[in-house]
């Protein structure tokens, strides 16, 4: 009995005792002088370490942007790599301050897992990748196939739903990380690899022969990916939410990494002036200073620049903007006004 209790207690200690998760994450981060940012263990284009061991990518840039807003420098980030299974525990236990990890917003995660989602930074959907040699042209032809699937993700649930709805069977091959999925898929342990379509494109880009693999046309789910923070700290949630919004607003207003310094000296456009802090005191209201947005844009670029640099058509991953275009171009990226 003592053994049981001590076991539970030891686990409780390990899982829950956190370095004092207090209500004011913003103050904690400022006091620490470093942002702990939860990212994936490695997904090319989104968050990965480059040849110099530096974290880079679409999601990693948001971490740097957030650090720039709060701490003044995009380098003051400690990246916390997590698997699909460990990410929420890492956030809730205080190991990380914010989660930028291709995470799908769902109701149960919002309500039951006690997370606060702050908006969408990438509209995605789940797809399937198969080798051309299988001669498969639709996901409905996959009856009896072995499917590699990352455990602990929404894609795992969508996969079960899709095959059940279509009355076909499959063998799930559970894997932990994208890298493991890639290895098993290429070794032929599974016929199909399924994850978010953006993730498939990113993974395929790293293959020796990307042309030998096809992403099937079916997109079987809605996967709005976005950052999350712990529930119950509205001030910190606001900071992350407005870093997310301000890069979208910047693209809409034509503020870029290149011209932000010039525009920050003041313009005739009050919308730009409010974003860059030359009019109003939105930075102070947020608990930051007035130049916060200038630093964000200088560090990570506006939404479009971040997209193009990391995952856009000119990169190996070659994703089109699609749903992620500005609302003025028929996409869904729409920032509430800074006013």
């Amino acid at each position: 009995m003592i053994k049981t209790i001590s076991g539970i207690a030891a686990f409780a200690a390990a899982a829950i005792v956190s370095a004092g998760v207090s209500a004011g994450t913003l103050d904690d981060v400022k006091a620490r002088g470093e942002l702990n940012c939860i990212v994936t263990t490695g997904l090319t284009g989104f968050a990965f370490t480059d040849e110099n061991g530096r974290w880079d990518g679409f999601d990693a840039s948001y971490c740097r942007g957030l650090a720039a807003a709060v701490l003044g420098s995009g380098e003051k980030v400690k990246f916390v790599p997590t698997t699909g299974k460990t990410r929420f525990t890492a956030l809730n236990s205080g190991e990380g301050d914010a989660l930028f990890r291709n995470t799908t917003i769902t109701m149960s995660r919002d309500v039951d897992l006690k997370l606060t989602f702050l908006g969408v930074n990438y509209y995605d959907g789940q797809g399937f990748m198969v080798p051309n040699s299988l001669g498969v042209s639709s996901a409905k032809e996959l009856d009896g196939a072995s499917v590699c699937i990352q455990t602990g993700t929404t894609t795992e649930l969508n996969l079960a739903d899709f095959f059940r709805a279509n009355g076909i069977s499959y063998e799930p091959v559970a894997i932990e990380t994208n890298e493991e999925g890639q290895t098993n898929y290429l070794a032929g342990r599974c016929d199909v690899y399924t994850t978010d379509a953006s993730g498939l494109a990113a993974t395929r880009a790293t293959f020796d022969d990307p042309g030998a693999h096809t992403v099937l046309p079916e997109i079987i789910s809605k996967e709005p990916l976005g950052p999350a923070v712990r529930q119950g700290d509205d001030q910190w949630a606001d900071v992350v939410r407005w870093v997310l919004n301000v890069v979208v607003a910047a693209e809409e207003l034509g503020i870029t990494q290149a011209n932000v310094d010039k525009l920050a000296k003041g313009t005739d456009n009050p919308s730009i002036n409010r974003v860059l802090g030359t009019e109003g005191n939105f930075g102070e209201l947020l608990g930051l200073d007035k130049d916060w947005a200038v630093r964000v844009i200088k560090t990570m670029g506006n939404y479009g620049e971040n997209f193009d640099r990391n995952i856009g058509p000119s990169t190996a991953i070659a994703l089109q903007r699609g749903l992620n275009a500005q609302w003025t171009d028929g996409g869904l990226m729409y920032s509430p006004p800074v006013r």
Binding site: F11, A12, I16, S18, G144, T151, E156, L157, A174, E176
Partner: protein
Amino acid sequence: MSTATVSSTDQGFSLLRLWRNKESRSVIIQIITVAVLFAFFAFLISNAATNLERIGKNYNFAFLWEASNYDISQTMIAYTSQSSNFQAMIVGILNTLMVAIFGIITATLLGFFMGVVRLSNNFVANRMVYCVIEFIRNVPVLLHIVLIYGIVVNVLPHPKAAMNLADTFFLSNRGLYFPAPEFGDAFIFVTISFVAGIIGAFLFARHAHKVQDDTGKALPVFWASLGFIIGLPVVVYFISGMPLEWIPATQGKFNLKGGMPLKPEFLALWLALSVYTACFIAEIVRAGIVAIDYGQTEAAHALGISSGRSTQLVIIPQALRVIIPPLTSQYLNLTKNSSLAIAVGYMDIMGTIGGVSLNQTGREMECMTIVLVLYLAMSLMISAFMNWYNSRIKLVER
């Protein structure tokens, strides 16, 4: 009683005086130790409770009855994504038990074999087994699991080109496929005769024991048991018209269809755990046999007991007394090491209730409590059984 004498001659109550007394001091120290331990655990538990409350979570097992919503590849009971998390847990328990039982049997057989070879006079065999043991047991078992999995997945052919024995057994990087048995209605008679055979063998063994006690004549118990347990069902099987068919797997569009597959994840875990544990068992067996003085063998021979029977009746029973306690801890190690299944995605207890269910429901505390209790229960059951067996074979002092 010295306490009473001291305190009766005491002028007044004094803590210092109490402390100087050897007996009361030991009581005080024990009380303090228990109190500190209790306070420590109380702090940990209340801390966990406070933190859970702070993020608005409760401690509640209702999620067990909700649909799990995920699929599992190896299931021994009927299971779909609409089954509950509880059923997913049962699947996980059965998968853990399967790999533990397969592993324990294989490790024991292999371990005894290697242990005996280690004692053989054949220099080459002896040294070869020694090298194998030293190599395998000095590498972490996790590496063995990942290595074997890597070999299965990367080296074995694709199912389309599966290695094939008589169109009955198939080996590919999707696993080892045995033919699946299909039982006819009359198979029930074979089952009944098998049970009857076991009972028959048991009764015969008792009878033989009695005959030997009374007359000193040894009856052929081994051959009779074999006849009862194997022979009888085989005869019934042919009489009832062979009501058992073996249906081999066939090529499907992606995978082999039908048959009884042992998946690569299972193969890797099973082989790695078996081989790893077998090396420890081999050394335990060797030590157990060496521990029996050669004089015992000579004494048995002097009494006119044949060589085979002296091994069976004199050496092995004594060696087992040395072997069983460390063997028990090897069985426990193997069972607990099976939780390394997570490295290759084998869906055991840690993979189901402690993995996917935990993650999809976000019930870390509850799931980990369940996992803890399950492993504890399993280990205690193995210990209890082995202790019972140990007490049965231990030296009876007369």
